[in-house]
C-alpha cells in the first residue's frame, strides 16, 4: 500500500514537473492582448496640447502652482477637468491630410502574458480595401529568454570562429544553434525583468489612395517559450476607422468647352525630290527619292481614302533652284511637274487625275530670300537681299551675286539651293455634310474631367497640375489637400459665396491661424446650410476653431 502511494506520488510529481510547458498555462486560460481606442483626453495629450491645467513655477527652492479657478458660492475654488469615463466607441473618424492619415491606437498587454522565459510578439494588421498589411511588431522578451538568445548567438559565433565553415553550412548552423533569432525591423523590442501590465501607444502614418474610405485594425500575437512551445493568441477586437477627406467638396459637374469646326481645311506637304541635272524624269532610286515618294503616296492615300472630308483639289507645285537660265529652268520645272503628276497618277490610280492640278516655279527666289534672311552664316546678307529686290532679271541677278559675293554665293549654292528643289502638295479639303462655313459646338472638357478624376483618386499633385488654370472650387480643394492654404484662401475670396466656399474658407483660415475669421466663415457656412455643422465634427481644423 505504502509502496503504491509513494510510487504514485513520484509519478505525479514527475508529471507536474515535465508535463508543463512554458506556455501551457496561457493556452489553458486563453489570455490575450487587447486593442483600445484613445479617449479624448489621451488624444489631446498625444497631440501635445500645450495648455496644462496646472502651471508649475519654480524659483530657488519654492514651488508655486497656478491653477484655473472658478467661483462657487462666492468663494474662489480650483476647477479642473477630470475625465471620468474611459469608454470609447469602436468606430472613429480620421481626417485625411496631404494624402496621408495617422492611425493611432493603444495596445494593452496583460500581466499574465509576460514571463521570464517567454517572448511575446504582437503584430497589428491594417485592413484596407482588399489588402491586409502587417504593421511593425512589438516584441517583449523575458530576462531568461534574452540570456538564452545571447548564449545561442555566442555559441554560433564561437562555432564559426573555431571551425570556419562555408556559407550553406553556416546557415544550417545558425538554424541549429540560434533557436530564437533576434527580431529585426520592429517598432518595440523591450526586455522586462518583472511582470507588469504594459500599454503601448501605437501610431502609424498610412498613405491613402482611391480605395481608402474605411480602414480596420486587428491584432495578432504569439508567445514563445524557451522550450519552443508556442501559444497563438486568439483574434482580438477590430477597430474601425472611417477616413474623411476634403474630397466630399469636389464639384463633379461636367464642364464644357466651345470648339470651332471649319468647313474648309487645307493640308500642306513639302518634300524634296532629286532629279538628274537637266533631266525631268522621276527616278525613284536616286538619293532619298524612294522614301520621299512613298511618303507622298501614303499621305495622298490617307487623305483621299478617309471619309470625313471630300478632297476638292490637290495642287502639285514643283520648284527649281535659281542656277542657270530662267527660260531653261522654266521648261525644266514644267516638265518635272508633269512628270511627277504622271508618276503619281500611275502609282495611285486614275481617280486622282482630275483632282491633281500642276503648277511650277522656275526659280524659287521667294524661298531663297526667306532662307537667306534667316541664315547667320552669310556675311553680306543684307546686300544680297537688296540686290535680289533691286534686280528684276533673274539671270542677271544671279550673275551679280556670283560676281560680287563669291564666297557667299558658293555657300548659298551648296547649302540653300538643295532646299529650293522641292515639290509642294496642297490638299484642299471640304468637310462632308457641312453646310455652313463654321460651326461652334460645345463638347465635354475631357481635361477637366481627367483632373477631377485624379483629384478623386487622391493624386493631388497631378490633379493640381491639370486643374490649375480653371480656378474653381476643385482647384481650391486640390490646393487645400496639398497644404497650400494661402493660395486657396486667395482663390476662395474671389469666388461667389455659398455654404461650401464659406466652409472651405473656415478651414483655410483655421490652418493659417486666423481663428476669428475662421469662426465667422464657419458660422456663415452653417447659416447657409445647417448640415455643415455636422460636417464640422469630422474636420479637426473646425474643432480647433471652436475650442
Amino acid at each position: 500500500m505504502r509502496r503504491i502511494l509513494t510510487a504514485s506520488i513520484i509519478v505525479l510529481s514527475l508529471y507536474a514537473l515535465f508535463g508543463c510547458s512554458v506556455t501551457g498555462g496561457l493556452t489553458r486560460r486563453q489570455t490575450s492582448a487587447r486593442l483600445a481606442q484613445l479617449t479624448r483626453t489621451q488624444r489631446q495629450f498625444q497631440q501635445a496640447d500645450t495648455r496644462p491645467q496646472i502651471v508649475t513655477l519654480r524659483r530657488d527652492s519654492t514651488v508655486i502652482y497656478f491653477a484655473p479657478t472658478d467661483t462657487l458660492d462666492g468663494e474662489r475654488v480650483m476647477s479642473l477637468n477630470i475625465e471620468q469615463v474611459t469608454v470609447v466607441a469602436a468606430v472613429r473618424t480620421l481626417p485625411e491630410r496631404m494624402g496621408k492619415v495617422t492611425i493611432d491606437f493603444i495596445v494593452d498587454l496583460p500581466k499574465e502574458l509576460l514571463g521570464r522565459s517567454r517572448s511575446v510578439v504582437v503584430t497589428p494588421f491594417l485592413h484596407k480595401f482588399g489588402e491586409v498589411v502587417p504593421l511593425e511588431d512589438l516584441t517583449i522578451r523575458g530576462a531568461m529568454f534574452d540570456k538564452l538568445q545571447q548564449r545561442d548567438y555566442w555559441q554560433y559565433d564561437t562555432y564559426l570562429w573555431r571551425y570556419a565553415p562555408d556559407s550553406t553550412r553556416a546557415e544550417q548552423l545558425f538554424n541549429r544553434f540560434v533557436k530564437f533569432p533576434r527580431p529585426a525591423d520592429v517598432r518595440l523590442d523591450s526586455l522586462v525583468e518583472h511582470r507588469s501590465h504594459i500599454t503601448y501607444y501605437y501610431s502609424q502614418e498610412v498613405p491613402t489612395d482611391e480605395t481608402s474610405k474605411k480602414m480596420l485594425i486587428t491584432l495578432q500575437g504569439k508567445v514563445t517559450g524557451i522550450d519552443a512551445s508556442l501559444y497563438t493568441m486568439p483574434s482580438s477586437d477590430t477597430l474601425t476607422y472611417m477616413i474623411s477627406s476634403m474630397l466630399s467638396f469636389v464639384d463633379t459637374l461636367p464642364r464644357y468647352q466651345i470648339r470651332i469646326i471649319d468647313k474648309y481645311v487645307t493640308v500642306k506637304d513639302r518634300n524634296y525630290i532629286q532629279f538628274r541635272t537637266n533631266d525631268a524624269r522621276v527616278v525613284d532610286t536616286l538619293g532619298g527619292n524612294g522614301r520621299q515618294l512613298d511618303k507622298i503616296t501614303d499621305l495622298m492615300a490617307q487623305l483621299v481614302g478617309q471619309e470625313e472630308f471630300y478632297v476638292d483639289t490637290i495642287t502639285l507645285t514643283a520648284s527649281s533652284s535659281p542656277e542657270g537660265y530662267y527660260a531653261r529652268n522654266n521648261v525644266l520645272a514644267r516638265e518635272r511637274a508633269h512628270a511627277l503628276k504622271h508618276y503619281f497618277t500611275r502609282r495611285y490610280g486614275r481617280s486622282i487625275d482630275t483632282m491633281l492640278t500642276v503648277k511650277w516655279i522656275a526659280e524659287d527666289w521667294v524661298a531663297l530670300t526667306a532662307r537667306v534672311k534667316d541664315d547667320q552664316k552669310i556675311r553680306h546678307r543684307d546686300e544680297i537681299l537688296a540686290l535680289i529686290r533691286a534686280e528684276k532679271n533673274p539671270d542677271k541677278r544671279e550673275d551679280e551675286i556670283r560676281r560680287l559675293f563669291p564666297v557667299d554665293y558658293a555657300y548659298i549654292r551648296e547649302r540653300i539651293y538643295p532646299y529650293l528643289r522641292a515639290v509642294t502638295f496642297r490638299y484642299d479639303l471640304r468637310r462632308v455634310g457641312m453646310v455652313k462655313d463654321t460651326i461652334h459646338t460645345t463638347e465635354l472638357d475631357t481635361t477637366y474631367a481627367r483632373g477631377v478624376k485624379l483629384l478623386q483618386d487622391r493624386k493631388y499633385a497631378k490633379a493640381l497640375y491639370v486643374l490649375n488654370d480653371y480656378n474653381d472650387r476643385n482647384t481650391v480643394v486640390a490646393h487645400l489637400s496639398l497644404g497650400h492654404d494661402a493660395q486657396a484662401l486667395e482663390m476662395l475670396q474671389t469666388m461667389p459665396q455659398d455654404a461650401v466656399t464659406a466652409y472651405l474658407q473656415a478651414i483655410a483660415c483655421s490652418r493659417m491661424g486666423r481663428k476669428e475669421e475662421g469662426r465667422a466663415h464657419f458660422l456663415e457656412a452653417c447659416r447657409r446650410d445647417p448640415r455643415m455643422e455636422y460636417r464640422g465634427n469630422l474636420d479637426p481644423e473646425i474643432t480647433e476653431l471652436l475650442k
Partner: protein, 183 residues
C-alpha cells in the same frame, strides 16, 4: 589497491581529454559549491553530444579523516544528461555510473570499502551570463557496497571482530549547487 584507483582515474582523464579533441562540441567545467561546504571537492566536466544530450564525468574527493569523524571517500561518476530545452539550459535528467571508495566512520565504527552504483538525478540550470550557469541537482542511486566494519575502540588485548558486508543500498548520487563555465 591504491594503484588500481590511480589507474582508473587515469583512464577517466584520458576519456575526458579524448572528448576535448572531438570535433565541434561545447563543453563545460563544473564545481559543486554545496559539496565544498561539506568538505568535498567535486569537479567535473560535460561534453555536448547532441543538442539535447551531454556526457559528463565527475570526480569527488573528501580527505577528512579524523579520530572523531572520518568521511574520506574518492568517487568517480560517468553519466549522460538529457536536457529538455537545450544543452546546459533549463531542466535536465541525468543518469550516472558511480564508483566510490570510502573510509567512513565515527568514534566507534569504521567502514572501509568500495561501492558500485547507478544513479538517476534531476536538476535545473539557470543562465547567469553568456558563459556562466548555475545548476541545482538532486539524485538518488542504488549501490552495491562491499566493506569491512571494525570497532576502533577495541583495546589491544581484546578480540577484534571485523565484519565483512555486502549489501545493496539507496543513497544520494548527486546533491549540489554547481557553477559551470562554458567553453
Amino acid at each position: 589497491m591504491r594503484l588500481q584507483i590511480i589507474k582508473k582515474l587515469l583512464v577517466l582523464c584520458l576519456l575526458l581529454c579524448g572528448c576535448h579533441t572531438a570535433s565541434a562540441q561545447f563543453y563545460t567545467v563544473r564545481a559543486n559549491g554545496l559539496a565544498a561546504l561539506t568538505g568535498t571537492i567535486e569537479i567535473g566536466g560535460d561534453v555536448a553530444l547532441t543538442d539535447n544530450w551531454s556526457l559528463d564525468a565527475t570526480l569527488f574527493c573528501n580527505p577528512f579523516n579524523t579520530p572523531s569523524l572520518a568521511a574520506n571517500f574518492y568517487a568517480v561518476q560517468v553519466g549522460v544528461k538529457h536536457w529538455f530545452y537545450e544543452n546546459y539550459v533549463g531542466h535536465f535528467l541525468g543518469q550516472q555510473l558511480i564508483y566510490v571508495n570510502y573510509h567512513l566512520g565515527n568514534l566507534r565504527n569504521r567502514y572501509d570499502g568500495n561501492a558500485y552504483g547507478i544513479g538517476l538525478s534531476y536538476g535545473y540550470s539557470w543562465i547567469l551570463s553568456t558563459r556562466w550557469s548555475v545548476a541545482v541537482e538532486a539524485g538518488i542511486g542504488l549501490y552495491y557496497t562491499r566493506d569491512a566494519r571494525r570497532d576502533t575502540t577495541v583495546g589491544d588485548w581484546d578480540d577484534e571482530y571485523i565484519y565483512h558486508n555486502r549489501r545493496l543500498t539507496l543513497a544520494p548520487s548527486r546533491l549540489g549547487v554547481t557553477f559551470s563555465y562554458l567553453f
